[in-house]
């Protein structure tokens, strides 16, 4: 039986950015009515390929066929006309507009808004019912959660009559429950005959929802599979080009003396909302305490307070010494007292993207004698130090003169992790250590965290990836609405139990909710 005509066919697509060959002779066939996964490490060229398909970049060579017809896509308007809709990793929404206003943005009929809004409202209602995509059309974007914002992006695409929907790392910002809901929506869309391309680096998602999967590595399309006929290890190997360890290899912890004692920590934000409502816990040397929870339940604030960039009340003791938590400019004092901090957002916090790698390797430690004497900075020493750390942490390329923004996400994170771990801290705060990081680098970063623990460092791990919390932590505390809902030994709990705590279901068993 001959295959039906592919909804999208790419033939020999190549694209170079200067000396970087981002896409090399890519061919791909996506069948109509399927969910097609594209998987690959950061920098493998997935996003570039999709940007070509959506008309942001023009391919140097190759052609695009939509439903069997060669189609030129010089800009995103052409992509929309060809029936392609895109949901970006970073949403393109106007924060202070309503959902409805965002949906019609750019496709208003005529100069007057009222009729377009009315039409959109009706259509949105129909779409919402058809695909389980309920969103309040009058809500302001900045007031709704990321899960809902993503739905608005999907609605925008559908409102523009997209038949082919491309989602770029859609679950990066979602909770497990939101991700499940998204997958339900995608299945509904598929059932209605839409074609979906899902770009991700998460193997679990590929296995769960796709029909077929294509693997990219270093700008090339290296393998195509039917999802039912492949396995995560096989995909991981195709992505990385070598065998990868998917499980974290670690021995049981041998906790020592308490390093961090937190009592009744409270934070009130600028709007008067209480973000932390009495957090108390203890963390010992040689132990990893994982803080699980849906993003936005106070974990970020906890890291900020401990890292010295947010004011709080309550008491924090480090190795028995009380820490000053009354200010928000205490980063240097924290470092000098032995706390290292890998912040949740490496792009706006952990790194200065325009700075060279060697300047970033000193960030936060630039006042130390190792980097110069008196007011003077010793550039040669900084550069040598950066070269050394980048080599030992396998940062690729190990060139200290490259700007931080030129590294892939995984390598950026390795720079931050190298800097913080190499400060030989007593306590490491680490937020979302592997967000937007490719598999090869995840394995490496996890190993470094465990080995730091084995050297006696206390580690506070905050992550929204439940898998990561479960595989790395020795103990797990779950946060919900600014409180710790419960604590579990990592070996004696599972995703289901933690999921309940994350949803705010009270911890009756331990009764430890503060």
């Amino acid at each position: 039986m001959p295959d039906p005509v592919p909804a999208i066919e790419l033939r020999g697509i190549s694209k170079a950015f200067g000396p970087v060959q981002a896409n090399k002779d890519i061919s791909l066939r996506v069948m109509p009515g399927t969910i097609h996964g594209i998987i690959g490490e950061n920098g493998a060229g997935k996003s570039t390929l999709m940007s070509i398909l959506y008309g942001f970049y023009r391919a140097d060579r190759g052609e695009i066929l939509i439903n069997g017809r060669p189609t030129a896509i010089p800009d995103s308007q052409a992509a929309i006309r060809a029936g392609i809709g895109m949901v970006f990793q970073h949403f393109k929404l106007v924060e202070n507009f309503t959902v409805l206003e965002n949906v019609i943005l750019g496709v208003e009929d005529g100069p007057l808004l009222r009729p377009s809004l009315a039409k959109a409202r009706a259509e949105l209602k129909a779409l919402a019912e058809e695909y389980e995509l309920e969103v309040d059309p009058d809500a302001i974007i900045e007031d709704i959660g990321v899960g809902l914002q993503q739905r608005v992006e999907i609605l925008k695409a559908l409102y523009r009559k997209a038949d082919i929907l491309i989602l770029d790392e859609p679950t990066g910002v979602l909770t497990p429950a939101e991700a499940d809901h998204l997958f339900r929506i995608l299945r509904n869309l598929q059932a209605q005959g839409k074609t979906i391309i899902l770009i991700t680096h998460k193997l679990r998602e590929i296995m769960e929802i796709t029909d077929r999967v294509s693997v990219m590595r270093r700008g090339e399309m290296v393998a195509h599979f039917r999802t039912a006929e492949t396995s995560p290890p096989e995909l991981a190997e195709a992505m990385v080009g070598r065998k990868v360890l998917l499980e974290v290899d670690k021995t049981p912890a041998r906790p020592g003396a308490p390093v961090l004692e937190v009592e009744n920590l409270r934070v009130v934000d600028a709007k008067g909302v209480e973000r932390l409502r009495g957090i108390s816990f203890r963390l010992h040397a040689g132990e990893i305490l994982g803080i699980a929870g849906v993003a936005g339940n106070g974990q970020s604030e906890l890291l900020e307070v401990l890292g010295g960039t947010m004011k709080a009340t309550g008491s924090v003791r480090l190795k028995g010494q009380a820490l000053d938590i009354s200010g928000n400019a205490l980063g240097r004092a924290r470092r000098d007292s032995g706390i290292a901090h890998v912040p949740e957002d490496r792009q706006t916090r952990g790194l200065i993207l325009d700075f060279a790698a060697w300047e970033n390797v000193a960030l936060g430690y630039h006042h130390r004698p190792a980097y110069g004497s008196g007011t003077r900075l010793d550039l040669a020493a900084m550069q040598a130090d950066a070269r050394d750390k980048m080599q030992r942490f396998d940062v690729r390329p190990p060139d200290p003169f490259l700007a931080a923004k030129s590294f892939s996400g995984g390598n950026q994170q390795k720079i931050v992790v190298a800097r913080e771990i190499e400060s030989a801290p007593d306590l490491l705060l680490i937020g979302q250590p592997t967000r937007g990081v490719d598999i090869g680098a995840i394995e490496f970063i996890h190993k470094q965290i465990v080995s730091l623990r084995d050297r006696g460092c206390a580690i506070l791990l905050v992550s929204v990836e439940l898998d990561e919390i479960l595989s790395l932590s020795d103990r797990i505390a779950v946060m919900f609405d600014g409180r710790i809902m419960g604590e579990r030994e990592a070996a004696r709990t599972d995703a289901r139990e933690l999921g309940l705590l994350m949803a705010g279901v009270a911890d009756t068993a331990a009764g430890r909710a503060a």
Partner: protein
């Protein structure tokens, strides 16, 4: 991503911008019935054709170097100091006070003392907007520009009142005592019968300005403070994470910036007019903004841009003198240069970047994927819908 070589970024792009500005200026001159080529000849010879011309060109350039550095230092902390005009006015006030009321035995000490006073006064005038920004979040663009008016009004009052010598009608202080007179270029570079730089205002302050360029370069790229200033300028979030105190950086940066602007008075007040006159700064504070933009906030770039604006200023003056082109027309030409080199920078930059990207692609058709070296003069990329690396 590396878009073009550094020389293109720093030299070629500004050069093309200047040529474009020159071309349009030519059309303007043509439109008022003069010969553009002749005008150009007069401008060039009037600005660089003799030591007399250079004596003026370098005098103006010295003013612009100080104010340009002031704006550039603030720019590294992402602070837009529009108040160099007012800060330089205050610098002049500081000099007038120490030159008139302190006994100076020798010009070297007088220059040193005056420079300190000028820097302190300039810094003091920048301190208030800085504090308002750091503590209250009042936008520094607004406050510094308003402080220019306050400084001007204050000087006005002082020069018609307390500082005006009795019995004169002029709005100026008394002349500074001879011991405070610093060497002019004529004093420094004339040998025996050969008198160079005859009756020109250029003076030793030019070398102070050059030293200031070196000092600012050293501060920004070789010291911990410079590192913190740049870190704060690039990313407030990362700076705070790194334990860099925002209030301190805003204050210190603006004090340095104001101090540099104040130092301008060593050139125009101590070095040239030798008394404090009304409107001594003559808009140099605003030219400093254009100079800093054109010089990409780099001290060497500021130096080159200052020389260029010195040439424009002096050459423009000559043009007015020789052809009777109205003063306003000279301003139009200067404005065109500012427009093209500052505001319309990207108009030239982007096509040039494209040409270089094409050429590189032609040279190296397929290379191993890997991130490219970043250009030191970072520009924010125009918008990156699909970043290839993330």
């Amino acid at each position: 991503m590396d878009r073009m070589p550094r020389w293109a970024d720093l030299i070629l792009v500004p050069l093309i911008s200047i040529l474009l500005a020159g071309l349009i200026s030519g059309v303007v001159i043509l439109a008022i019935g003069e010969n553009p080529l002749r005008a150009l000849g007069i401008m060039v010879s009037g600005a660089v054709g003799s030591t007399y011309a250079w004596g003026y060109t370098l005098y103006y350039a010295t003013n612009f170097i100080f104010t340009g550095l002031a704006v550039a230092v603030a720019m590294h902390a992402r602070l837009f100091n529009i108040g160099a005009e007012g800060q330089a006015t205050w610098g002049g006030l500081g000099i007038a006070l120490v030159a008139l009321y302190l006994p100076w035995p020798h010009w070297t000490l007088a220059m040193l003392g005056s420079a300190v006073a000028a820097a302190l006064f300039g810094a003091a005038w920048a301190a208030i907007p800085a504090l308002l920004q750091a503590r209250r979040g009042s936008h520094i663009v607004i406050t510094t520009i308003m402080f220019n008016f306050i400084a001007a009004a204050l000087l006005n009052w002082l020069l018609v009142g307390p500082l005006k010598p009795a019995g004169t009608m002029e709005t100026a202080t008394a002349p500074f005592p001879p011991a405070t007179h610093i060497p002019s270029f004529r004093d420094m570079f004339s040998f025996g019968e050969t008198i160079l730089f005859r009756s020109t205002p250029a003076n030793i302050a030019f070398f102070v300005a050059v030293a200031a360029c070196v000092a600012v370069w050293w501060l920004i790229w070789r010291t911990r403070l410079g590192y913190e200033i740049r870190a704060f300028g690039h990313s407030e979030g990362a700076a705070r994470y790194a334990g860099i105190d925002a209030t301190r950086i805003i204050m210190v940066t603006m004090l340095i910036s104001g101090g540099l602007a104040g130092l301008m008075a060593v050139n125009n007040t101590l070095g040239y007019s030798e008394r404090l006159i009304l409107n001594a700064v003559e808009g140099a504070g605003f030219i400093g903004i254009a100079v800093a933009l054109m010089g990409r906030a780099h001290p060497f770039g500021v130096f080159l841009a200052s020389i260029l604006f010195g040439i424009l200023y002096q050459g423009g003056g000559e043009l007015q003198f020789a052809l009777g082109i109205p003063r306003e027309m000279i301003l139009v030409i200067q404005a065109l240069v500012i427009l093209f080199t500052g505001a319309l920078d990207n108009m030239v930059r982007m096509p040039v970047e494209m040409i270089f990207a094409e050429r590189r692609r032609a040279r190296a058709p397929i290379a191993a994927p890997g991130p490219a070296r970043s250009s030191p003069g970072h520009m924010t990329p125009p918008s990156d819908p699909g970043k290839p690396a993330e």
